[in-house]
Subunit: 281 residues, 2 copies
């Protein structure tokens, strides 16, 4: 497993691959890789000649009171996951490599970044868009793979890729879940045993929403109320949001015509978890 | 002279050139090309295998009261300039090709975009950074050529290219002037005969600033006062700014240590013209 820490070395590798007419798949991550990431790497390896995984805990996408310092890290474990799932290279830069002195450029978006996680994390998506732009320019992939768990992020990256004319195909990949339904997340590591049990309420709530939809409920107020009620049964849960939104615009809708996304963000103790489910016939 | 209007066709051409291992030089313009643009094209043709000139009057960089609708255009003339000076391709997209429905992403910058033209044109550089990001992603040049006449823009593009990790070298090229000193600009077209004569005051003022500097004046207040006095002799001139700034940060300085940029923006009648001169030993 080749590990590259500088932009210069990364560019040289990319140049060699492109000169050899090889396609590049890219999986941007913040590390502490789990089976969700592994599924992205495997899909990239199936579709592309070479797979680059970036591991970078991006300070710009954390708010001042968020968990930047405590975000879990384990590069040795991550190397193993990358190797076993078919990646050829890990891009693992220091913060100073991506944000040199005098750094002052930003990529931002109207619309899609409002609502859902954008409400409680107002600067988050500016950090995501900026770092993904940088990583796209450094890795120059043909395809980039993102998890559907971060549904708003995926919609934003798709929009940004079109808007800024990146010559890159964005591939969204399904959520990977624990046997009880909990969506895999590096932040699950924060949960103690009691909290881990409680965290089941997110997927349980979403499944109730999906059942209602499958029973022809199209009124989003009714769906949200049922999801909220299930999550609120859990004493350790504090709801940030329960929303039903248009899957393209990420804006709340009152009635579901074709498809919708039901998305939740819930604090379990101090840990903020997100999850979502697609509602469509 | 090949003229391409769609992103798709541009990408295909770029792919063919890159597959043939040819380097691409890029000259982004708003068209109505003059000898300043021609000098950029010639330099690109000297340094690169293929030269792309984009011609796009970018609505996003015009303020609501500015001259978007009246901005001069002459694509037939522009084709000739491109051909004569060594370009192979003109990228000439419609507005709807670069800004499709739902467009909502932006590239912005702190610091460098404040002051000088950023003060009277607050959204201008957001539009410049966004469209240049798009054009860089579409044309994927090895080198991009910009005129020193737009000194703040050049500094911003250099900063953005580093910050967002574009694999592109930015080349700044000298100002081209009329025999009387007037910096070439597509907007000179707006000037009637009387205004054209009056417009001499910009370069005349800057030259007085340079003379003072060459006579060891290092106090920027003295330099600005002399430049302003010369420009103000011209009854048709209304000064937007006269500034002496650090050439990297574009922030005003009081005393010149090594080098500085003296920059002016002046309305001649209704036409806003800019010019600048580098002060260094």
């Amino acid at each position: 497993m080749k590990l590259v820490t500088t932009i210069k070395e990364m560019r040289e590798q990319v140049r060699r691959w492109k000169a050899a007419n090889l396609t590049i798949g890219f999986v941007p991550t913040m590390g502490f890789l789990h089976e969700g990431h592994a599924s992205l790497i495997r899909q990239a390896a199936e579709e592309c000649d070479k797979v680059v995984v970036s591991i970078f805990v991006n300070p710009m996408q954390f708010g001042p009171t968020e968990d930047l310092a405590s975000y879990p890290r384990d590069i040795d474990h991550d190397k193993g996951v990358c190797l076993e799932n078919g990646a050829q290279l890990i891009f693992f830069p220091e913060v100073s490599e991506l944000y040199p002195d005098g750094f002052s450029s930003f990529v931002n978006m109207d619309g899609l970044t409002n609502g859902l996680c954008g409400t409680s994390r107002p600067e988050h998506f500016r950090g995501v868009c900026t770092v993904v732009t940088k990583l796209f320019n450094i890795v120059q992939p043909d395809r980039a793979f993102f998890g559907q768990k971060d549904a708003q992020q995926l919609a934003i990256i798709r929009r940004m890729t079109i808007d800024l004319s990146f010559p890159i195909e964005i591939i969204g990949c399904p959520i990977v879940r624990e046997p009880d339904g909990l969506a895999l997340s590096s932040r699950n590591k924060y949960l103690n045993e009691e909290e881990r049990t409680a965290a089941h309420c997110l997927s349980a709530g979403l499944n109730i929403g999906k059942s209602l939809f499958e029973n022809r409920e199209r009124d989003t107020h009714a769906i949200k109320t049922a999801v909220l009620a299930r999550i609120s049964q859990e004493a350790l849960a504090r709801v940030d949001y329960v929303e039903v939104v248009d899957p393209d615009s990420m804006q709340p809708i009152e009635k579901i015509d074709n498809a919708a996304l039901c998305a939740v963000a819930v604090f379990i103790g101090k840990t903020r978890l997100i999850d979502n489910i697609i509602l469509e016939d």
